[in-house]
Subunit: 140 residues, 2 copies
DNA sequence: CTGCGACGTGATGGATTCATCAATCCGCGA
DNA sequence: TCGCGGATTGATGAATCCATCACGTCGCAG
């Protein structure tokens, strides 16, 4: 029942709990937006994500419970920002891992295909897709 | 239905999926063990975690599906290891974030308490806990 | 004080995930 | 071939999470 992210229990439990807080596309999206801009009003988040206010609010509540974001009231609007810069680090590292995984699994698929065709593992273009963009260092 | 971690969908969905794969204490534990030792037989994992074989195997299966670990059969035993060193990075960064969060929330609690007592925010010892260990750079 | 716009909270079905146990697969030695 | 230990898979109820919608709160304008 204790919703605290921090307690005196084994660290791997706390860690798993942290990942649970991140385990939803909407919440990842929110954190990525907050990583890019220091402080963002809820109205902007609604615009960026296209979600219904209450839905988004629930996810913000989850992020607050996990101590990943902080809210600040100014006038009639609420502004959110990352609670710690390390949150952005975490997203960056996870992105790096993902890139590695995607590249590798794609190669494996390609080699499986070409193996039955007797070709080297070179061809970078996916069988039925547009040609790969020259590189896209930004993106979400 | 597609269980691939990688597809052509928005990156934040893939990222959320990755975190979902990490969002369980047992799986975090497994990855931490694998981060410490290059290659570990299932029997050792059973010993380290104290889990029933089938239970552990299911979590290993999840980790495999997410491309976080790889299995290798040698003789009658199966050996697991991290699929990419970046997985260990991710765990390290998450740990750093967690440390930050725990330290900070603890201070907040302390200051809330001392605020009603009229004391500065100095005292590092929690009201009803054992004194903080001088620092523990290892641990899980 | 009354209404309104911006956010948050509660409650409810529907979908996922988890833990447990039985059944199966795989390599090897008798 | 038979059987056995090591490891995985399948199936089931319990627990948890998610999306939707109705309602409640806060601050301000009229």
């Amino acid at each position: 029942m204790n919703e605290f992210a921090g307690a005196q229990r084994p660290l791997y439990e706390v860690k798993a709990n942290l990942f649970k807080g991140l385990a939803h596309p909407v919440r990842v999206r929110i954190l990525e937006v907050l990583s890019a801009a220091n402080t963002v009003p809820v109205s902007d988040l609604i615009a960026d994500t296209g979600l219904e206010a209450s839905h988004l609010s629930q996810h913000l509540s989850v992020l607050r419970k996990h101590n990943l974001v902080v809210a600040e009231r100014r006038a009639s609007q609420v502004f959110y920002s990352l609670a710690y810069p390390q949150v952005a680090d975490l997203l960056r590292v996870s992105r790096a891992l993902l890139v590695e995984i995607l590249e590798n699994t794609r190669q494996q698929l390609a080699s499986t295909v070409t193996a039955s065709a007797g070709l080297p593992v070179q061809p970078a273009s996916t069988p039925s897709d547009s040609p790969p963009p020259p590189s896209d260092p930004e993106s979400t």
